[in-house]
């Protein structure tokens, strides 16, 4: 059931908030051992939130998410549950404060049903980099769910929550949404507070919803998006194009460079079919070339790694988290804690980022990457002057099998070609299911919009979703 349907069921007392929560908890107990979507579920805590929500529903004062069980990616700070970023280094760490968006959810008496698995510190596109255990794709347990919000996408796909929060730095919401056949929105940079979201790459990180539908994503977005004076990059002015009732006359651009030979044929044809559907509804679909997108991947990986190298320096074992047991002095606390606590992908990116910032390399790497990001942003700006929104695949292919994971990290990075550029430009972008390949694996359509047009692109997806025949995942315990 969608959040919208659950809202009706709760408000009409068809079901109580406790019953609803219990239902999801039972699903988690049954399926989480196979899927691995949750790192932490506190049944008692979830039920107490449900009871509190029920009082509000009984008083006829329910907000859109009152009593709705939402899964929380484990990089959002919560005072009543651990926040580990799926890292061994933060095992057992419980923050003394709530992230702003968690406070926002609490004011609606949302049921925070548990903390969700991810790639460690949000670095990865497969969820194989979790410090605890990998998440599996509900459509095929032998395949990855994508990443880094793979746990969030898998939990929604397997119906282990009504909706989930993820974070997207270079595609971490959209790519797993695509791999798991759900809808996921990366909001405009600055729309959703980052305060209390453990930073990976500050200029690119953005928290957003994953859910059964674009409409549900909109409901969650409304609940979490707010101007936050505690974050200097939070947008004060945030009005954009509203949802549209009609697709007639809208101009949509199909990004040429993301429909090339490196995109798998079934993915390409599913996206083309979706584009034709929009055309049939009266939209004007044209191909548009964004030649600078090819610089997106190197620019993204240099900038994000550089920022991460500084952002993750605070994990020194001095004030919080797991400290190495075998230290002799300050230097060895830092070295051993980080050496033992961080996984390989995190170490790789810290090294890459530190290298790109070293004196002598700064101009050649970091500075050049920033200049490229600027070029990409300009190209998007011009394209979105001509078009109302842009269409493309989310990923060159469907979810890969665990035994077929790229062994060369750079190969894995290249697969992010479709998703990394919207963050560089600060734009909102979403993934919505648009087909299934011959093996039944979901394919996602990406819609990218102008800054603050989040509601507009969600409505574009909603029109499509009403027609699209979704095939739910079937996971057997």
């Amino acid at each position: 059931m969608t959040i919208k349907e659950l809202r009706c069921a709760l408000d009409s007392r068809e079901i109580s908030a406790a019953e609803l929560t219990k239902g999801y908890l039972a699903g988690i107990a049954e399926l989480n051992p196979q899927i691995g979507a949750y790192l932490h579920v506190n049944e008692e805590l979830a039920l107490s939130m449900a009871e509190k929500a029920q009082k509000r529903i009984d008083a006829g004062e329910s907000a859109p998410l009152t009593g709705i069980p939402i899964g929380i990616k484990d990089l959002l700070c919560t005072t009543d549950m651990p926040t580990t970023c799926a890292s061994k280094l933060l095992e057992g760490y419980i923050p003394p404060y709530d992230a702003t968006i968690i406070s926002n959810l609490r004011t609606q008496d949302t049921v925070l049903i548990g903390k969700i698995n991810m790639d460690e510190f949000a670095m990865g596109s497969s969820n194989m980099n979790s410090g605890y255990f990998p998440v599996k794709n509900p459509y095929d347990l032998n395949r990855v769910p994508g990443g880094s919000s793979g746990g969030s996408a898998a939990a929604v796909a397997a119906n282990l929550c009504a909706g989930a929060l993820g974070s997207d730095t270079g595609g971490s919401i959209r790519q797993p949404a695509s791999f798991c056949g759900v809808t996921g929105l990366r909001p405009t940079y600055g729309l959703v507070s980052r305060f209390g979201c453990v930073a990976f790459a500050s200029s690119l990180d953005q928290v957003g919803p994953l859910a059964q539908s674009a409409e549900d994503c909109g409901i969650i977005l409304d609940a979490i998006a707010s101007y936050d004076p505690k974050e200097m990059t939070s947008a004060r002015e945030r009005s954009g194009r509203p949802a549209t009732d009609s697709l007639k006359g809208l101009k949509l651009g199909l990004i040429e460079e993301l429909m090339g030979s490196d995109v798998e044929a079934q993915t390409k044809s599913a996206v083309e079919a979706a584009a034709r559907w929009y055309e049939a509804q009266g939209a004007i679909v044209e191909r548009i070339s964004l030649p600078m997108l090819k610089y997106g991947v190197p620019a993204y990986y240099l900038i994000s790694a550089a920022e991460a190298s500084a952002n993750l320096s605070r994990f020194d074992g001095v004030r919080y988290g797991q400290r190495s047991k075998s230290y002799t002095d300050y230097q060895s606390i830092v070295e051993k804690t980080r050496g033992e606590g961080f996984g390989w992908e995190v170490k790789r990116r810290i090294l890459l980022g530190a290298y790109a910032l070293c004196s002598g390399y700064y101009d050649a790497y970091y500075k050049k990457a920033v200049q490229l990001a600027h070029v990409v942003r300009e190209e998007y700006r011009k394209a979105l002057e001509q078009f109302d929104a842009l269409l493309s695949p989310v990923s060159p292919d469907v979810a890969f099998r665990f035994d077929n994971a790229p062994t060369d990290p750079a190969q894995g990075y290249i697969a992010d070609i479709c998703t990394v550029s919207a963050p560089l430009a600060g734009l909102p972008a979403l993934s919505t299911p648009c087909g299934y390949n011959s093996e039944g694996m979901p394919i996602g359509l990406m819609i990218t919009g102008k800054r603050f047009d989040d509601k507009f692109i969600l409505s574009l997806a909603s029109h499509y979703e009403r027609e699209f025949k979704k095939i739910p995942a079937e996971v057997r315990a």
Binding site: L75, L76, C77, T83, C85, L90, Y93, P95, P96, Y97, A99, R194, F195, G196, C197, V198, A199, A201, S202, S203, P229, K230, E231, M232, T233, A306, E307, S309, A310, S313, R314, F315, D316, V318, R319, Y320, Y330, V334, A354, L357, C358, S359, Y362, Y366
Partner: protein, 470 residues
Amino acid sequence: MKYTTVIGLEIHAELKTKSKIFCSCENSFGDERNTRCCPVCTALPGSLPSLNREAVEMTIAAGLALGCEIAPIAKWDRKNYFYPDLPKAYQISELYAPICIGGGLSINGRAIRLNHIHLEEDAGKLVHQGVKTFLDYNRAGVPLIEIVTEPDMRSPEEAAAFVEKVRRTLVYIGVCDGRMEQGSLRCDANISIMPEGSEVLGTRTEIKNLNSFRFIKSAIEYEVKRQMEVLGDGEKVIQETRRYDAQCGETFSMRSKENAHDYRYFPDPDIPPVLISREDAARIGERLPELPEARLERYTKEFGLSEVDAETILAEQRISDYYDTAIKLGAEPRVAANSIKGELMRCLNTAQSKGEIPVAAEDFVKVINLAAQGKISQNGLKKAIAVMFEEGKDAETVIKEQNLMISEDLELVASVIEEVLKQNPAPLAQYKSGDTKVLGFFMGQCSKVLKGKAHPKTIQDLLKKALDNA
């Protein structure tokens, strides 16, 4: 060989904003350990900085007071290094686009140029107790400005005088309390020597963390001597960072250039650039109080004080402010200056008083004016100031209680004179014969009897009359 000493300074001054630079924690000194911190200043995961406008405005004020250009756009960068007192393992500082550019001050007629002033955050503190080390993050995130000079100073005295002048300016404009003993103002000195007449700077060393004028002078003196000896032995000065040990008065190597940190500076993505309009800067400039240099000029040119007297009064802002208030209340500038640097400062020094001056300026002006009019004696004036200072009573009460008002009982004066003349026939005869020098003797005799109950002028007038009529 004769050498020229070349000194450049980096002065770190903590700003006395209400809250810290990136969070709302109180900015205060000396509280119990780790009671002035929060998720932001201890760098808990997920926390973000939010720049304090007041800190930016105070930096602009400091820049304007020190003659800097205010940049239209200021940016913050991350300076990366691991140290236990630095919670984020990077310091938010300004490398590429500081708030204030250029500027300078003159020391004894020599111009000392500033390179720039930037705004950054202070680190926490390590507290060593025996073999254990504790961390105190109360200071982490206190706003700090770094005032960076060009290598323009040529002697330890000049460097110390420069720091003193900067300190006084910052204190006057109210952006820093200037308490070097508490570390709210400290500096690093870059020192090199070159053969006299040369224009090629020698290799420099940097001495870190000097926190008193005395240490600045003695550390630089030592370091110059050391460098001369190194060169004298035919060796080369190594570019390095050194530490000054005040106990033994020597400097020691901390790390060489080869081991210098690569701070991997890059723009902080959490802090968008801050635009500073000309109007904003002008508004801050208009609010600046009169600077010490302007006061000096006013005191010497307008009030006719000597430069030494003027500097004495200027040395402390509260005293200078007190002086200005006294003038506004109608005190004669030189008279007020004398009483301030005399009796009032003696009282302040004896009592080691640091706060507000306990004698109300109104009362101070009242007594010095009475003395100027001859209604109380100079000794009476000193007594009045001392008693008002110690007992906190107002001028009228003190004058009454201490019976300081010179009584102008002319009959009493006349009868005392008559008595004195009667008892001293010989000097009287002398006077009569034209020897007027004895006037002084009679004055002394009368004053002794009257014990300050009459003004000397009154006594003299009546005495002359009596002598002439005798």
